[in-house]
């Protein structure tokens, strides 16, 4: 490396890291705070160095039963992902391999249902849920999340399926595979990476979904998004505990997100950007 190149690289290193630290600062600060004592957390002059303690994590679990909310989040996000896949796989398979003149319109229509703001249907869904006993149940939230994510899941699978050579499925058909065999023995193994990243994204979206969990659940079925929101009330202003709870709420999904960052772009832009 020539001196000029090195200088250039050093400059970009400084700039890049400055931006990265600035943007992630709120998160880093939050994680740092979660290890502080309550007193250190609200000190008028913020401490950068302190005695780390796990006190807040312990208190959050004991006082508000963090694990129960986490369990709700896990059940709802994984369940809704599975349910969405169940509907999306046959649909995406049909549109990718037996396209008709209407397929394009169907795909765009599906996406446009996602554009319909959730509030537009809040009242009816709320009333239907109230009358069918689905209010504040994991099943109810799971179903709503699954339907909400369905258009995105279909689109993502569609773009991944399009990359499976059509001839391989046709060869399967010549070998006597019906649609179920074709999907199960050929399509799923061949598009496994795509299905995994679709599932990851659907899980992330369901885990972070806030509107329906805030409006349709209460004490019983509330997932972590709703649990955290309860800290916004004045008595909840214990910074260390808030930070500890938040850290615990986002940690699992943050890891999933980092793992899937590359496929995420392809998936969320429906293959328009690779």
């Amino acid at each position: 490396m020539t001196p000029i190149e090195l200088r250039r690289k050093t400059l970009f290193t400084l700039l890049g890291w400055a931006v990265a630290l600035l943007l992630s600062f709120p998160l880093l600060w939050m994680v740092l705070t979660s290890f502080k004592s309550e007193a250190a957390a609200i000190a008028r002059v913020p401490h950068l160095f302190f005695h780390p303690t796990l006190e807040s994590f312990r208190v959050v679990q004991e006082q508000s039963n963090y694990l129960r909310f986490a369990w709700n989040s896990i059940v709802v996000s994984l369940g809704s992902t599975l349910l969405a896949l169940l509907f999306a796989i046959p649909s995406a398979y049909t549109m990718a391999f037996s396209p008709t003149r209407r397929t394009r319109g169907t795909l765009l229509w599906m996406l446009s249902t996602k554009m319909m703001p959730s509030v537009g249907v809040l009242v009816p869904i709320y009333l239907i849920f109230r009358d069918t006993g689905l209010l504040d149940t994991r099943t109810g939230l799971l179903v709503v999340d699954a339907v909400g994510n369905l258009p995105i899941v279909i689109w993502m699978l569609y773009t991944f399926f399009k990359e499976v050579p059509r001839e391989v499925l046709e060869a399967g058909r010549m070998d006597g595979a019906g649609p179920v065999r074709e999907i199960y023995n050929l399509l799923l193994p061949l598009s496994l990476p795509g299905i995994v990243s679709t599932s990851l994204l659907a899980t992330i979206l369901a885990w972070n979904e806030a509107f329906w969990s805030l409006t349709l659940t209460a004490a019983k079925a509330a997932p972590l998004t709703a649990f955290i929101a309860s800290f916004s009330s004045p008595q909840g202003l214990f910074y260390a505990k808030l930070s500890a709870a938040s850290t615990m709420a986002i940690a699992p999904i943050l890891v999933l997100g980092w793992v899937s960052q590359r496929q995420l772009v392809r998936g969320l832009t429906f293959g328009a950007v690779k």
């Binding site: 970009f12 943007l23 398979y93 396209p99 249902t113 703001p117 509030v119 537009g120 938040s246 960052q261």
Partner: protein, 300 residues
């Protein structure tokens, strides 16, 4: 890469659909029910007198709910806030995202880890990021910004009282900047190195390079980002719910939150239904234009 598969081209249209088309029925039915049944119910409620607090007062109300909503000073503001939020966030995320993408296209030490740091906010649930900003950054007493302002001798500001909408824009932009950044970075990196070299041979400097080579190449990424962000941000809710609760007054109430106010604060289902219809109308209007340009981009 630069060439893309069109959604459909003529020779791919198969003609053995029959049985296989049935596999699309479950998904289509679910989405159809999901989009039509509640909409019809909303339409029905919008003409009814229906308040959960007054269960005895029911019946047909004609245009009553509509007149009531249209006289609500919050409605116009809510529509404006909805659009303003969306437009500002799109502008900020795509603008800064492009700059960041170009920065991270350069080789530097520890780039991979720095990129992970930049991406992180996207995976944070909306309630967490809203609370984080509200309490630890923007809080007039204990927030870091207050500390910084005090240490340079300024008087700390209660951001959610003074500039509630701007504060929310900052929070949501912070969450969605990573997505725009990552999409644009992927697009920038897919730009053919030889095309850049050819431009350099033609005498293009840094600015001309961006203006004539990089920016046109980003068109699809920008369209896709706009599309996705619009889908998710037209109905921003949690960030408002947790921070400003729509206030002060209606200053940070968007359509989503207005409807929420009607339903769960005033228990006025009829009024909420009308507001819901307005939201649907707005969304469809936007969807119409976005879908058209997105579909075109997908084919290009």
């Amino acid at each position: 890469m630069t060439q893309h598969q069109p959604v459909l081209s003529g020779d791919q249209i198969a003609t053995r659909p029959r049985g296989r088309l049935l596999l699309n029925v479950p998904a289509i039915s679910v989405l159809f029910l999901w989009s039509i049944v509640p909409l019809c119910m909303t339409l029905w409620f919008s003409f009814r007198r229906y308040n959960l607090m007054e269960p005895t007062r029911t019946g047909f109300d004609g245009w009553g709910n509509y007149r009531y909503l249209l006289s609500d000073p919050g409605l116009g503001l809510a529509i404006w806030n909805t659009i303003f939020l969306l437009a500002s966030i799109l502008l900020i995320t795509i603008g800064l995202g492009t700059l960041l993408a170009i920065l991270f296209d350069q080789d530097f030490f520890g780039r991979g880890i720095a990129r992970v740091l930049v991406l992180s906010p996207f995976f944070v649930m909306p309630t967490v990021s809203a609370l984080l900003w509200k309490n630890m950054i923007l809080h007039p007493e204990n927030g870091l910004l207050a500390f910084l302002m005090r240490s340079v001798g300024l008087k700390p500001v209660d951001w959610f009282a003074v500039a509630p909408l701007t504060s929310i824009i900052v929070i949501v932009s912070w969450q969605w900047l990573p997505f725009a950044f990552l999409t644009l970075l992927t697009a920038v990196q897919s730009l053919d190195e030889e095309r850049k070299e050819a431009a350099r041979m033609d005498g293009a400097g840094a600015i001309a390079m961006f203006r004539y080579i990089i920016w046109p190449h980003l068109g699809r990424a920008v369209a896709a980002t706009t599309m996705i962000e619009t889908i998710f941000l037209l109905g921003i809710f949690a960030e408002i719910y947790v921070t400003s609760a729509g206030g002060p007054g209606f200053a940070s109430t968007n359509l989503s939150f207005l409807i929420y106010r009607y339903v769960l604060m005033e228990y006025d289902i009829g009024g909420a239904a009308v507001a819901g219809l307005v939201a649907v109308l707005l969304a469809n209007l936007l969807a119409f234009f976005l879908m058209r340009s997105f579909a075109r981009n997908l084919d290009a």
